[in-house]
Amino acid sequence: MAFWILPNTAGAVASSMDVDGSTTTATYDAENLISGPRSKMWRCDAFGSVVRVYYNLPQSYSMSHCVIARADLMMTEEGSQISVAYGSGLGSPIDGIGTPIVAANLVGIKVDGKPHGQDAVFEFTSPVTSDVFQIAIGHASGTQAAMLAKVYFCDGLLIGNGPQRGPTWSVRRDGEPERTKPLLGYEEYAVTDAIDLRWRHVGREEIEAFEVLPLNWPVFLWDTDGDIFAHKLEHVILAAYSWTRVGEDSFTLETSWRRLAHYP
């Protein structure tokens, strides 16, 4: 198993964002892709073939994953394809979904009885270093708009062998989200269920790497084999963390997370 913490590394350091191939409206700004709740989205007007969204970074960074929240909104009548690339212009491709996005491409919790998740994860074969990262959205024919909630380019963090197995979500029975702030952030989010994850036998350098993650914003927890999370991907905020030194270079890391409210 591999259990990744996926922050928005690119969003945290981006100097600008560009959209090429269409226009955006003020209420569906591209910067909504960086952070904020899942209800906050980017939308571009109908376009003919391809629209590209760029993260421009002040220097080169290494990325291991790309996560797209609400990729389910791309399962349109015409069908949409997504490719992930680095570099300006057309860029160099890293990964993508070449055929129209279908339910099998989606992970994350299923909302409102739908048979599929809402998000897509692209795990790079090896880390890619660049100062520009982009996604390209295309479709086979006609014109159509595109809408997404978040695009994360992530320098993912693997901690040891992953958290101890067996934690369960504390589910809010009333189904009503409550509003809370991340441990390290000032913006309130609507959140629902809670889970505690504990890593044992964690090294000093892993604790240090965890402490410098941009945890003021939501992150994704990517459980590649679904050992901890049945839906493999969770979009969460960090509610609390602590570490205890248990040996010369051995720590126990305890964390509490809240799941972001999902919407149909």
Partner: protein, 264 residues
């Protein structure tokens, strides 16, 4: 090598804090106004020089300040790359003994902004301790707390726990000041002697103190991960135990509130 408790013992015993040029000639009172902030209090307090000339800042007491083992400069990152000297004077304002003579490095602590220096010259009962800024660099000096400490060393620390506090948490009161807190921590130091206990209680703890770990590497400690904690002591308990030979063993269980850093 161990874990040092560093309180501003010299600051407590100083009759005055002098701002001088590099020949120990005092500057105008208007320039020195507000220099008392270096003695303690929250990290947000600072004194900024009105000009750019070399300046010495010294704790002075002609009837004796006792000894000091360490100097700690809060937010020494403000002087990164700039040469400074740490001074001790058996006879103030004679020429004094200059130590270090280089940039403050490595920077340690939460966010790596502070600098701790173990004095290389022994002063049994100095009349003054100080720091000289801008020896070979012309710049306007901004200075936060400067501690000179007769440190109390502990060989062992156990049960070290660190828990991050929400960034939006309210400031906590302590001895007439309010402090924003980065994290709380607990640990037990010892075994210690009764003389150590007496020394511990005699240290000034109304202002924040430092725990400095000179074990481990240049940027981490074996006892405390961040190598330096700037904290208020929120609670303490002396624990008495006995070994198999019925000999007394003393420990101090500490509750710490680690101060929030920032460069405002």
């Amino acid at each position: 090598m161990g874990l040092w408790l560093l309180a501003n013992t010299v600051g407590r015993d100083a009759a005055e804090i002098r701002v001088t040029d590099n020949t120990n000639v005092e500057v105008a009172a208007s320039e020195a106004e507000g220099i008392d902030v270096i003695r303690g209090g929250p990290r947000s307090l600072k004194w900024t020089q009105s000009g750019t000339n070399q300046r010495r800042i010294a704790y002075v007491n002609k009837s004796g300040l006792g000894t000091a083992t360490h100097c700690v400069i809060v937010d020494a990152a403000l002087h990164e790359g700039k040469v400074l000297h740490v001074y001790g004077w058996d006879d103030y304002a004679a020429s004094g003994s200059a130590m270090h003579g280089a940039a403050p490095t490595p920077l340690i602590g939460i966010d790596q902004r502070d600098w701790a220096f173990e004095l290389t010259t022994s002063f049994p009962d100095a009349e003054a301790f100080g720091v000289s800024f801008g020896i070979s660099d012309t710049y306007s000096k901004t200075v936060r707390q400067i501690y000179f400490c007769d440190g109390l060393e502990f060989d062992h620390a156990s049960a070290v726990q660190f828990q991050r506090v929400p960034v939006h948490a309210s400031a906590v009161p302590h001895c007439g000041n309010f402090y924003k807190i980065h994290a709380t921590a607990t640990m037990t130091v010892g075994p210690v002697t009764r003389a150590d206990i007496d020394t511990y209680y005699a240290l000034p703890k109304e202002d924040p103190v430092f725990f400095y770990d000179d074990t481990g590497g240049s940027d981490y400690g074996d006892h405390i991960l961040h190598k330096l904690w700037h904290c208020i002591i929120a609670g303490e308990q002396v624990v008495v135990d006995y070994n198999d030979n019925d000999e007394e063993m003393l420990f101090i269980a500490l509750e710490l509130s680690i101060l929030k850093h920032g460069n405002g």
